[in-house]
Subunit: 271 residues, 2 copies
Amino acid sequence: MPDMNLAIDNYRINPESQVMLADWAGDDDGGLDKSETKAATAALSERLVELQHLLFAQGKHRLLVVIQATDTGGKDSTIRRVFGPLNPAGVRVTGFTKPSDQELAHDYLWRVHAHTPAAGQIAVFNRSHYEDVLVVRVHNLVPEAQWKLRYQHLREFERLLSDEGTTIVKLFLHITPDEQRRRLQDRVDDPTKWWKFNRADLTERERWDDYQAAYSDMLARTSEPVPWHVIPANHKWFRDHLISTILVDTLEGLDLAYPEPDEDLTGLTIS
Amino acid sequence: MPDMNLAIDNYRINPESQVMLADWAGDDDGGLDKSETKAATAALSERLVELQHLLFAQGKHRLLVVIQATDTGGKDSTIRRVFGPLNPAGVRVTGFTKPSDQELAHDYLWRVHAHTPAAGQIAVFNRSHYEDVLVVRVHNLVPEAQWKLRYQHLREFERLLSDEGTTIVKLFLHITPDEQRRRLQDRVDDPTKWWKFNRADLTERERWDDYQAAYSDMLARTSEPVPWHVIPANHKWFRDHLISTILVDTLEGLDLAYPEPDEDLTGLTIS
């Protein structure tokens, strides 16, 4: 069922590779036709609803979807568009923003672990444990000697989750600097969007190269045991299609099925 | 915008009243036309999406929706159909099933309090703190002298939440015994639904009158400060319409608005 015209593998990080994010094109559209692709995405979305229903009914597997992106990369709209059609009883979205005092009083994975999915559930992380090697690194919130140790923690944390039955899909939404400029300018040009605008986005933008280096190291150093996918995200229609394809492919790879009934109910009449 | 042809007040419990649930018709359809009503519900659903977007953007109000029902009353399909279209980033559904050992080691409101909504969020409870005067009462899980004290706890717990800024909507899905029989028989007649069937549903059905008495007391004794709505739920299209109307009416009663921008951005150019 996943669109085999789209080679998912091309967007998955090979853990052996040296990743230079600049080698990936944020404006890649896979050579696909926009309107045909949108129709195919709608079909994938319906399939995703069916697969989630099975996941939920079976109550066996857990799915964790980790979404990271450059600022304005489209995390919010991805969540609304790709996960919006699913049954809300089986989806839990957690946004990881600046940690609270209580969270900072623990190790950095403490708050993350608490939000991993239960059986039958899909957890979606809007930002995640990876901020602890991204914003934390770029802004020197902890010393380099400390954040450098974290790549191993992150790999081994995900190994634990995987070994214990959680399927993890990691998505990095990748846009070009020019696309970020357009998106920020769009917000500025529309006064109804001013409330969304944050001056800090501009100072973060000035650190574009520092962030790209941090992303590149993250992708290279934490793609095993669970690989990252780099999602070209300039074109939202392509982004949604690629992500939907990856999710359908992942869920179809599990042994999803309705649970066995407890008994044969043939002929039972309810009075 | 809510359909004023539908008098919501007629479905809201007057706290002064003596409630006899048998006086409410589970098969009431408000005298509405089915296909016209479905179209109106679709429009209400779009309005609900807009209102949720404002709720989320403003990050000020919290909405808690409590759903209780007779078995097979339609809690799951209500959640899927009414809350499904909303942005999953702002909706959290919690199902309260049999408490865990850890939960039982605390007072019965402990686990519930933990799942109340944060600012900008909608929390939906599939079953709730009210089970502690329903299943607990019918099955004598705690002595009568103990569960009788709980009506006051429940009222005062909701007063606390309301006083501190949480808007609460309480929905009781009401079906007729004959409709329950049909729904159980439908599950039995379709082998692909056998996995959903639970023999315990039949023994619960034998206690229909005990449950009706427990529901009636709950509705009468916990409708202030936050009133219950009795939702006739034999007809799913009517149920969805009434609930959507109540939710839109509730959210329109709040002062929802986009936050004020921090500054005037006229003329700013992003480089």
